[in-house]
């Protein structure tokens, strides 16, 4: 399967290892991966701030790149894959709305075409077979990022992928579906509330899986959105209680070799 990777600006600049892991896992799942030229950002920061014109200007650039990849006469990609629930949501749900709003009906039409063929990474991987996956025994808590959960309704797929990894002990976590407090610019507009929300989430992490008997508390926090993990990790670091985090792609990529995702390759 030919897939076009939209790597996202956040992964590109702050978490390139997530991009590398994504490519590795996709290849292991039998995908032929391209990373179309011309992509920049999905425009979400500006869209969420109400700056629709700025959002459209940036989103149109990425739309052009992804549309071209899907319609390359020589070697068209079948799907666009995004290693971030939030950016996948921007493309599938908000792009058509954004372009209609700024009066660019042509872009809106193309956005609908691209959106219909855009998959968040765990959605795509859940439908593919992967080589055997294993990791050293680790208690893992999965954080459902809000856009992935409530806009794209992706709930079971990331958990099912983790459950395919031998050694991954997924723990029950009462706060798994609660917002981490990142919210893009929210984290900067209301920093005190944002960190209070992170603290709530981090505090409950220590109790995750408590009902299951011995060995309560998660050793690794996993999500399909790097931005949530960045927020939670940097908050914990600031408080001097570092928490191990890994993007789902990083867990799966490490598990291809039986490695511990908490240790950099």
């Amino acid at each position: 399967m030919r897939v076009a990777l939209f790597v996202t600006c956040m992964v590109d600049v702050l978490e390139p290892d997530v991009g590398v892991a994504t490519v590795r896992v996709l290849r292991a799942a039998g995908c032929d991966v391209s990373c179309p030229d011309g992509q920049t950002c999905c425009g979400q920061p500006a869209w969420n701030a109400g700056a629709a014109d700025a959002a459209a200007t940036v989103a149109r650039t990425t739309l052009d790149a992804l549309h071209a990849a899907l319609h390359d006469p020589a070697d068209p990609a079948e799907v666009v894959v995004v290693p971030a629930g939030s950016c996948a949501t921007m493309i599938r749900v908000f792009w058509p709305e954004l372009f209609e709003l700024v009066g660019d009906h042509d872009a809106a039409e193309r956005a609908r075409l691209v959106g219909a063929r855009t998959r968040e990474l765990s959605e795509l991987l859940a439908e593919r077979s992967l080589p055997p996956l294993r990791m050293p025994a680790t208690r893992v808590a999965y954080h459902h990022s809000c856009h992935l959960l409530r806009e794209l309704r992706v709930h079971d797929q990331p958990e099912a992928l983790l459950d395919r990894v031998e050694g991954c002990e997924r723990v029950e976590w009462g706060a798994a579906e609660r917002c981490c407090g990142f919210g893009g610019l929210f984290s900067m507009k209301l920093p005190e509330v944002s960190v209070a929300m992170a603290d709530d989430k981090l505090a409950s992490l220590a109790e995750a899986g408590a009902g299951a008997g011995a060995g309560a508390g998660a050793e690794l926090l996993v999500s399909a959105d790097g931005s949530c993990l960045l927020h939670l990790r940097t908050r914990a670091e600031h408080e001097g209680r570092p928490v191990r985090t890994a993007h789902l792609a990083q867990v799966l990529a490490a598990a291809l070799d039986g490695r511990d995702p908490r240790v950099a390759p």
Binding site: G38, Q39, V58, M188
Partner: protein, 467 residues
């Protein structure tokens, strides 16, 4: 709006920052909201098809709003035919003036009230006090905050921010020499005993309206304490204050909404008391008021109805969006600065209190996590409405913010500009400039470690054939 007690020149950030520092407040909120949340989930799970009901409720509310003027006219006509009197109030001042006029005409000195958010919105208690009346709130939570000189911090649980010791402290001011035990049952018994005397002495009863039913010209009030029954039933004259959107055309619609209201609010199948008043006491009836007045309050709602944000008027004030909102959970209702809090308040306040520039920033009081939309029993797209409000605000934003977004779009709207800036970030050269580009970025490090850009971007590694 009345503007008397709210949004007093503070910023949203000031208020929320103060609230997050209040450990006791956060403890009270977490306890109460966990309780409400579990109740709601259980109550909805009992239904055969909760989502089907919610879709039906959304459609019903949309139909009602589409035909609102006609439904309101019908309600008013029937209510008058039943012997009630109707007053259409364009704003808070008109509503308060009319009610104070009734109080003066009947020589009222003592007023009992059952909880009403619409009259909180108009600042009715202050207006009645100026007209020489003493007003006693009879909903226990509302009475507690009245005694503490506070405003409600939750749509259905006005004193949710106070623990039982703080509740006892407030009630102590009404207990005189008697020392109150902070046991909830004993506090409730004290309130019952004290308030009963107030009902008997009151000249005027004031209530809100949960739903007006046009079909029969009836007003429906739900409570769990029965205080609305006594407020309506005991004093000689009753005034009900209703936001103009709080109506249904038929009893069938009302029944559907009531079943979702109680389940969404407190996890009950139905509230403990559902009172219906269709007019004054008729000849031969044992109780009920001699006069019943309905005040239909516009106060900016007509403008909202005509705008792209009209769906917010579908709200039935169950409070479910507050209970699930992770922001509300941290800061409580007072941080929202006006009568309505939580996600619904973040939409309603900028609309109804639009003359206060501070109100517009409430649209930022959300991470857009969507939990409120999932919980709303009438399917209000709260997240979309918040985004609409943010766009309105951005259009009026100062030139610095607009210029920042233009500069960002100029850079990242071109692949070459994007590459230049991301490479510069990776080399650690652009941090200062970056902070300029995205407004408020410097606030990240208030409470969080600074993220460190990777030495080389993914795209550089990809282009070098290393991936």
């Amino acid at each position: 709006m009345s503007g008397e007690h709210l949004l007093p020149g503070t910023t949203l950030r000031d208020r929320t920052a103060a609230a997050t520092g209040d450990v006791r407040l956060r403890g009270s909120l977490a306890r109460a909201l966990r309780h409400f949340g579990h109740g709601r989930e259980r109550a909805l799970a009992d239904l055969d098809d909760p989502d089907g009901l919610r879709h039906a409720a959304r459609a019903v509310r949309a139909d009602i709003l589409a035909d609102l003027p006609a439904i309101l006219e019908r309600l008013a006509d029937r209510f008058e035919a039943n012997g009630g009197q109707v007053f259409w109030a364009a704003d808070a001042a008109e509503a308060n003036g009319h009610i104070a006029g009734i109080a003066r005409r009947i020589g009222a000195r003592r007023v009992v009230k059952s909880k009403s958010m619409a009259s909180e919105e108009t600042g009715l208690n202050e207006a009645l006090a100026r007209a020489g009346c003493s007003v006693v709130e009879t909903d226990l939570g509302e009475w507690i905050i009245q005694l503490a000189h506070e405003t409600p911090s939750h749509i259905i649980a006005p004193a949710v921010h106070r623990d039982r010791y703080q509740a006892a402290e407030a009630l102590q001011t009404a207990a005189g020499d008697r020392t109150l035990d902070p046991d909830p049952a004993k506090l409730a018994a004290f309130a019952r005993e004290t308030l009963r005397a107030e009902y008997l002495r009151a000249d005027l009863g004031v209530s809100g309206v949960n739903l007006g039913v046009a079909e029969t010209g009836s007003l429906v009030l739900v409570t769990n304490e029965g205080n609305a029954s006594l407020t309506m039933g005991v004093p000689r004259v009753h005034v009900a204050v209703m936001g103009m959107e709080r109506v249904t055309a038929t009893w069938e619609q009302c029944e559907l909404l009531l079943s979702l209201l109680a389940r969404s609010a407190t996890g009950q199948q139905l509230s403990a008391y559902t009172d219906i008043v269709s007019g004054p006491r008729r000849a031969g009836e044992a109780d009920g008021p001699d006069e019943v007045h309905l005040v239909i309050l516009d106060n900016g709602r007509s403008d909202v109805l005509a705008s792209e944000l009209h769906e917010i008027l579908a709200c039935i004030r169950c409070g479910a969006c507050l209970n699930v909102c992770p922001v509300y959970r941290q800061v409580g209702g007072h941080a929202y600065g006006w009568v309505y809090s939580g996600p619904v308040g973040a939409v309603l306040t900028p609309l109804l209190a639009s003359e206060h520039p501070e109100a517009a920033e409430l649209a930022n009081a959300s991470t857009l996590c969507g939990a409120c939309m999932d919980a709303c029993p009438v399917g209000i797209p709260l997240q979309d409405l918040l985004l609409s409000l943010r766009r309105r605000r951005a259009e009026r934003a100062g030139s610095a913010e607009r210029a920042a977004w233009r500069a960002w779009a100029e850079a990242w709207g071109r692949p070459a500009g994007y590459r230049t800036s991301t490479r510069a970030l990776a080399r650690g050269r652009a941090a200062a400039r970056w902070a300029h580009l995205l407004p408020g970025l410097s606030r990240w490090t208030e409470g969080r470690a600074a993220p460190v850009p990777a030495r080389r971007t993914f795209r550089e590694r990809w282009d070098a054939g290393e991936v």
